[in-house]
C-alpha cells in the first residue's frame, strides 16, 4: 500500500472535519467532504502518493501539533456537545478546553524535554477531566444507547435477560423493548456499573487504554516519544469525543480493542490474544464480524488460533440466544438491520433523498460495498497498519452506502485511520 503516516493523519483530519460540524448527521457539505475523503483513501491504494505527502519524521510532529491546535480550537468553539449540561459545569467545560487551547499553543515553541512531558500530562488530563465531569453531571442523557446499556448491565446483575427487558421511554412512539447490541456490551460494562454506577466510565477507561497502546506501540517501533505523545493528543482531542463519551456510545471500547489487537499481534508470537480482542469486539457489536476477511491477508495469519479465540465469545452469544431465541433475533438482527431508513443520517441515501424526496432507491445499493472487499483485498499488504487502513476504507464505504451511519461510526473509522498511522511508522522506519 502507498499510504504513510503523514497522508493518514491528513486524511483523518479531513474526515473528522467532514462530520463534526453536522454532528454526524446529513448535511450537503458533510456528505461531500466524507465522500471525497473516501475516494482519496481508496485512490491511495492504487495511485502513488505525491512527493508533497512524503513522510518526514520532523515535519510529521509539526503537522500533528498544528492539527491538535486546530482540533482544540474547534472543540472550544463548538459547544454543542454540552447540550445536556445546564449547570455551572457548562462554563467550566469551556474553561477546561480554553486551558487546553492555551497550553496547546506552546506546541509551536521548542521546549525542553521535561516541559514537553509536563505539557503532555496536562493536555492529556484535561479532556479526561472534562469527560468525567460530563458523565458525573449528566446521569440521565436522553439517548436510547445509554439507557439500554445502563439498564441492561443493571438488569443482568439482577438476573434479568436484557433481550427481554423493556427500557425507559426516550422517544415518542417508539417502544423501548430492544437491546440492539451483543451480550458483551453489557457484560463489559458491569465493573464500571458496580464501581461508579455509570457504564460510560468504561468508555473513558477505553480511551486511556488506547492512549497507552499508542504510547507502547510507539516505544516498540522506536518512534520518537514526542511523536507518540502528539498522536495520543490528536486522538484524545477529537472535537466531539466528550459528546461520544457523554452519550454512552460503545465505539471508544471498540477502538481500544482494535488498538490492543494490533499491539498484541505485533508483540506476541501467539496470536490467540490478539484475535481474542477482535472476538471481544464482535461480542459487543454484531457488525464487527466484517473484519474477518481482512485478517486473512495479515502476515503470520493463524486460522486455528482465530477460531479458538472466537469460540468462547460465540458460546456467550449462543447462551443469550438460547435464553430467548425470538427476542435475541428480533433485537440483534432484525432491529438493527431492517429498521426504517433514516434520511437524516450521513449517507448517500440521504444525499439522494435530499435531491429528490420521491426517489426510490433499490435496497441492493446497500450491498454495494461488498464489491469493494475483493478490490481492497487484491492490493498487496501484510502489515498491521495496512490492515487498519484497508478495513477503515471498506468500513467507510459501508457507512456511506448503508441505510444509516452516525457520528459514533464515523468516529470509529477515523480512529482506525489514526491507529493505522501509528502502526505505519514501523513501515517507514523499515524503509529507511
Amino acid at each position: 500500500m502507498n499510504s504513510n503516516p503523514t497522508f493518514l493523519v491528513i486524511s483523518y483530519f479531513f474526515l473528522v472535519l467532514g462530520y463534526i460540524f453536522s454532528i454526524g448527521l446529513y448535511e450537503f457539505s458533510s456528505f461531500w467532504i466524507v465522500t471525497s475523503v473516501f475516494v482519496l483513501l481508496l485512490s491511495s491504494l492504487f495511485i502513488k502518493l505525491p512527493k508533497t505527502l512524503n513522510h518526514d519524521a520532523r515535519a510529521f510532529t509539526n503537522l500533528l501539533s498544528i492539527l491538535i491546535v486546530i482540533s482544540i480550537a474547534i472543540t472550544l468553539y463548538w459547544p454543542k456537545e454540552f447540550y445536556e449540561l445546564n449547570t455551572v459545569l457548562k462554563p467550566l467545560q469551556f474553561y477546561i478546553f480554553l486551558t487546553a487551547f492555551i497550553t496547546s499553543l506552546t506546541l509551536f515553541i521548542d521546549l525542553k524535554y521535561q516541559y514537553k512531558k509536563f505539557r503532555f500530562i496536562i493536555l492529556l488530563a484535561l479532556p479526561v477531566i472534562s469527560q468525567v465531569l460530563v458523565v458525573v453531571n449528566t446521569p440521565h442523557p436522553k439517548i436510547d444507547v445509554f439507557d439500554i446499556l445502563q439498564g441492561a448491565s443493571y438488569g443482568i446483575l439482577k438476573g434479568a435477560n436484557p433481550y427481554t427487558m423493556t427500557f425507559n421511554q426516550i422517544y415518542l412512539n417508539i417502544t423501548p423493548d430492544y437491546f440492539t447490541y451483543m451480550p458483551l456490551s453489557f457484560l463489559i460494562n458491569i465493573p464500571s456499573r458496580i464501581i461508579f454506577g455509570d457504564v460510560r466510565f468504561t468508555s473513558i477507561a477505553s480511551l486511556l487504554v488506547t492512549c497507552l497502546v499508542i504510547y507502547f506501540v510507539g516505544k516498540r517501533q522506536k518512534i520518537k516519544e514526542e511523536t507518540s505523545m502528539l498522536i495520543i493528543l490528536l486522538f484524545i482531542y477529537h472535537p466531539l469525543l466528550t459528546l461520544i463519551v457523554g452519550e454512552g456510545w460503545l465505539d471508544p471500547i471498540l477502538v481500544a480493542l482494535f488498538a490492543l489487537f494490533g499491539y498484541l499481534y505485533l508483540s506476541h508470537t501467539n496470536k490467540f490474544w490478539s484475535y481474542f480482542m477482535l472476538a471481544l469486539a464482535l461480542g459487543i457489536k454484531q457488525n464487527m464480524f466484517l473484519v474477518l476477511p481482512f485478517l486473512v491477508k495479515l502476515k503470520s495469519f493463524n486460522l486455528q488460533k482465530l477460531v479458538l479465540a472466537y469460540v468462547p465469545i460465540i458460546l456467550i452469544i449462543l447462551l443469550f440466544f438460547t435464553l430467548s431465541p425470538q427476542d435475541f433475533i428480533s433485537d440483534v438482527v432484525k432491529e438493527p438491520f431492517f429498521r426504517n431508513t433514516r434520511f437524516d443520517a450521513l449517507t448517500f441515501y440521504s444525499f439522494l433523498y435530499n435531491l429528490n424526496p420521491s426517489i426510490q432507491i433499490p435496497k441492493i445499493i446497500f450491498l454495494l460495498p461488498l464489491l469493494l472487499i475483493p478490490l481492497i483485498l487484491s492490493r498487496k499488504w501484510i502489515s498491521i497498519g495496512d490492515f487498519y487502513l484497508a478495513f477503515a476504507i471498506w468500513f467507510l464505504s459501508s457507512l456511506i452506502f448503508f441505510r444509516e451511519a452516525f457520528l459514533n461510526q464515523y468516529y470509529f473509522v477515523s480512529s482506525l485511520l489514526l491507529l493505522s498511522a501509528v502502526f505505519q511508522v514501523e513501515k517507514e522506519n523499515n524503509k529507511k
Partner: protein, 445 residues
Amino acid sequence: MNALKFYLILYVLILLGYIFRFGVFTIPGIFILLLSLLLWWMFYLKPKLFKFSIDPYLLSYIVLVISIALSLYLLERTLLEPGIPNRPPNFLLIAQFIRTLLAISLIISIFLVFMRRKILIIVCLILFCLLTKILIIIASPNPQIDVYDFVMLGTKGLMNGVNPYSLVYTQMYVGVKPDYFSYGPGIFFFTIPFKVLGLDHRFSFVTTELATSIILLGQAIKIKKGGGSILLLPLIFLFNPITLYINLRGWIDPSIIFLFLLSILAFTSKNKVIAMFLLGIAISIKQTMIFAPLFFYKIYQKKFLLVAFIVSTLIYLPFLIWGQKDFFHDLVYLLLYYPPIHVSLSVNSMFYFFFGKDIPQVFFLFIWISTLFLILKKDNKDIGLIFPGMSLWFFTFYFFNKFTQVNYYYFFNGLIILCAYASVLGENKTYKNTKTRKTYQSKNG
C-alpha cells in the same frame, strides 16, 4: 519559510474565531482571537521562538481544504441570510449551482496534491470561485444592510451630481437615522465604473478579489525561491469561508486589500511614489488607513510619505468643500462617537460581557499608541517585516476598539495572506542580498 507557515496557521486560527457566528460575539470566538493576537505579537517580537518544519506547500494545501470545506459548510447559512427579501425566481436553482460548484472545488482541492498541471487546476478553481461570487450577487439583488444601501445609493447620487454625504438613505435599523455615508470618497473609483456599465456595484469588489488572486498567482509563478510554496495563497484568499457573505453584503474591504497588494508590488519594484500613491487611495476609502504610511517611515523619506497624505487629501477635499457639516458628521463624528456594539467580536464586548460596562476610551488610546511605537521602534526595513508590522497593528487597533465587525476580520485574514506573501518576498530579497554580498566579498578577496 517559517513566517509563511506561521501566517498560514494564524490564518486558520483567526478564521475559527469568527466564522461560525459570522462575526457576532461569542466567548469561545473572542478567546481564540485574543490568543491569536497574543501569538502574533509573540511571533512578531520573538520569531525565533517558533519552529515549523512542515512543508509549506503541504500546509497551504491543508489550509485550502479547510477553507473550502468551511465555505461549503457556511454556504447554507449565507444563502439563508435574512436580509434578502427580493430573491430572484430561480433562486433555488442558483443556490444548487453554487453548492455544486463549491462541492466540485472541494473535491479538486482534496486531490490537488495528486494533480500534475497545478497552475491550470488553480486557474480552474479561481474561475469556479469567481462564478460562485457572481451567482451569490445575482441571488441577492437587494440585501438589507446599510453598507450595501449607502454605497449603492451614494454612487448613484454622485453620478447624478448629489453629494453622498448629504443624502438620507433607506431606513434599515430601528432608532438609527440613515443620514450617513461612512466611507471615504475613494470608494467611488471602484463603484462608479460598474454603475456606469449598469452592473451591481458589488461586482467591483468581486473584481478586486479576483485581481488580487491573479496577481498573487502571477507572483507565485514569477518568484523563483519559495514561489511554489505560495502557489495556493491566491486560492486560500479567494476561498475564505466568509467571502461569499462579504460579497453578498457588499462590504468594501476587498478593495483595500487589493490596494495594499499593489503597494507591496510597487514597494518591491522600488516605485516609492506609486506605493505611497496607492496607500493614499486606501486612506481615501477608509479613514483609519491613515496610519498605514507611518510604517514606512524608516525606509522612505518624509517627502514620499507625504505623497500618500497629499493624494488622500486631494480626494477628500472636494467633498469637504461641497458640504463641510455633512462631511465631518459622516467621516469624523461618526467614527469618533459611534456607540459601542456589544454583539461585535471586540475586547470591549468581552469586558462588557464580564463586567457589564465599557472599557474607557483612554485605555484603547494607550494600547493603540504604545503598540504603534513598539512596532515603529523595531528595525523594520524589509517588506517581509514592514507589512506584517502594519497588519499586526491594524489587528490590535480594531480588536481593542468599540466594535469589530465581520468585515474587519475578513480584512485581517486578507492582510495575513499578504503577510505570508510579503514574508516570502522578504526572504527572497535577503537571499539576493546575501548572494550579492558573497559575490562582492569574493571579488574583493
